[in-house]
């Protein structure tokens, strides 16, 4: 029995999932995290570092890491890649000016070897804004259809109203669960 097998068995027992939530600054990552966790979202400051929350969902223990998206701290994202089961990429659907940046950062992440096994959920956030692009438009703009290396899905959501957040979590937990815990 190799060490990897032991580790895997160990994780199976705990049914633990590690999610990494990334995206450009002002995408709404912390707001999504706090909304899911039922916390107040009115006083959220830009994240200077990271937040972590542990939640139970569908019988899984989810550790969600929310890492700040400011340009100067994006280089630290790599410190959180290890053991990531799912990547939640959050997009400000109304921020047309930076969709190019957003696409570039996402596709760079997908090249990352340590994230190669992770499921990718793209949250097209801020659907409550009238100027927001739809999930289809975001899918085109980020060229998600070209992704062949990861399981992925995109979902329009609103951290402000809470719309579709749980549905997204359902998908990512389901996808990871079937991959890690049932397939072998």
């Amino acid at each position: 029995m190799g060490l990897l097998t032991i580790l895997k068995k160990n994780r199976q027992k705990e049914k633990e999932i590690r999610l990494l939530m990334l995206g450009l600054d002002n995408a709404g990552k912390t707001t999504i995290l706090k909304r899911i966790n039922g916390e107040d979202i009115d006083t959220i400051s830009p994240t200077l570092g990271f937040n972590i929350k542990t939640l139970e969902h569908n019988g899984f223990k989810m550790n969600i890491w929310d890492v700040g998206g400011q340009k100067s701290i994006r280089s630290y994202w790599r410190n959180y890649f290890e053991q990531t089961d799912g990547l939640v990429w959050v997009v400000d659907s109304a921020d047309r000016l930076r969709l190019g940046d957003c696409k570039k950062e996402l596709h760079e992440l997908l090249q990352e070897e340590r994230l190669s096994g992770a499921s990718l959920l793209v949250f097209a956030n801020k659907q409550d804004l009238p100027g927001a692009l739809t999930d289809d438009q975001i899918r085109e703009a980020l060229e998600l259809d070209s992704i062949a290396t990861h399981h992925w899905a995109i979902l329009g959501c609103s951290a402000k109203t809470g719309a579709h957040l749980l549905k997204g979590m359902d998908w990512v937990v389901g996808d990871i669960g079937s991959r890690i815990y049932l397939l072998d």
């Binding site: 400000d92 070897e113 009238p130 399981h151």
Partner: protein
């Protein structure tokens, strides 16, 4: 060749060869089995990559690199084939779906007939987006923009881009969400309370008066910022930033109403709790300070607002 490497290559090489054969055969696969075949190849490539990752510490660097390159080239080949053979892989959640539409998790982008015709570039609905761009030496008033009635009542985002020596007045009855400000030189800006963020990039020598939930300022210098912000404002790659409170820019009844529309707490203002991403220490950052009492310019706001007084109330 080391023992570990030999053992590894004994399992890696045949699997790699087998995947390459599957790739070569892919264009002969019947259409209805294509997706399943692609899915299975994706999984096999991923699994193979995992075996390399797991062994990376014991493999000689050269072998590890060769294996990773082989995997990369197989992934690229698969992507090319997929584009060629499955031209329209459409897959996304539809927000109107009500049933538990969790997609089969074993499939990568699953082709689902899209109800809408495919669009090559995102069609951008400009009517919901208020913007001023590429102006010099002008006074710009948001009330002069035509605003679409659709979705009125919901907050709209504003973009201000490439403005030089302009005065900008966004105080009006239109509820605003986020304000994106980019590349402004020597401008004076007056914003009403907004329900979203103020995002600033590449500005210089401006005076900004605004109220928001979040303030994020980047690569800017020599700015006077009069702000009401209910979370800690941040600066990044900025120098010579000076902060002061928003102040009573309108008669209090009017101002109270605007704060209420923006759902901003008038009682909380963290304008003096600036966080500098380039200065993660306890001591005061050299990149920002508060404006001294003697430096405040209370006449600026009335001057700007008075230009549009008839509309701005």
């Amino acid at each position: 060749m080391s023992e570990a490497s030999k053992d590894f290559r004994a399992t890696f090489d045949p699997e790699k060869q087998s995947i390459e054969e599957a790739l070569a055969e892919l264009d002969k696969v019947p259409k209805d089995e294509l997706q399943a075949n692609i899915d299975s190849i994706v999984q096999r490539i991923n699994a193979l990559e995992k075996t390399v990752t797991a062994k990376i510490s014991i493999l000689p660097a050269f072998d590890a690199r060769m294996c990773m390159e082989a995997i990369k080239s197989m992934s690229e080949r698969l992507t090319q084939l997929r584009v060629k053979l499955v031209p329209k892989a459409k897959f996304s959640f539809k927000s109107r779906k009500t049933t538990g539409a969790t997609p089969s998790p074993t499939s990568t982008p699953k082709p689902v007939a899209s109800p809408k015709p495919a669009v090559s570039t995102p069609t951008i609905d400009q009517s919901q987006f208020l913007k001023f761009e590429d102006r010099t030496g002008e006074h710009l008033f948001i009330g002069s923009l035509s605003v679409s009635e659709a979705g009125s009542g919901a907050a709209k985002d504003v973009a201000l881009t490439n403005l030089t020596d302009c005065t900008i007045n966004l105080v009006h009855d239109i509820p605003l969400g986020a304000i994106h400000v980019k590349n402004l030189k020597r401008c004076t800006l007056v914003f009403p309370p907004v329900s979203g963020s103020i995002l600033l990039h590449d500005c210089e020598g401006c005076t900004l008066v605004g109220a928001c939930h979040q303030s994020r300022m980047h690569t800017s210098t020599n700015m006077n910022i009069y702000i009401h912000v209910t979370s800690e404002p941040i600066i990044e790659d900025c120098t010579d930033m000076r902060f002061a409170p928003y102040g009573q820019i309108l008669p209090s009844e009017e101002l109270d109403r605007l704060f209420e529309i923006a759902q901003l707490n008038q009682g909380v203002n963290l304008y003096d709790k600036v966080k500098d991403f380039n200065w993660l220490r306890q001591q005061q950052s050299p990149n920002w300070r508060l404006l001294e009492e003697s430096e405040l310019q209370p006449e600026v706001v009335p001057q700007i607002l008075s230009k549009d007084r008839s509309v701005a109330k």
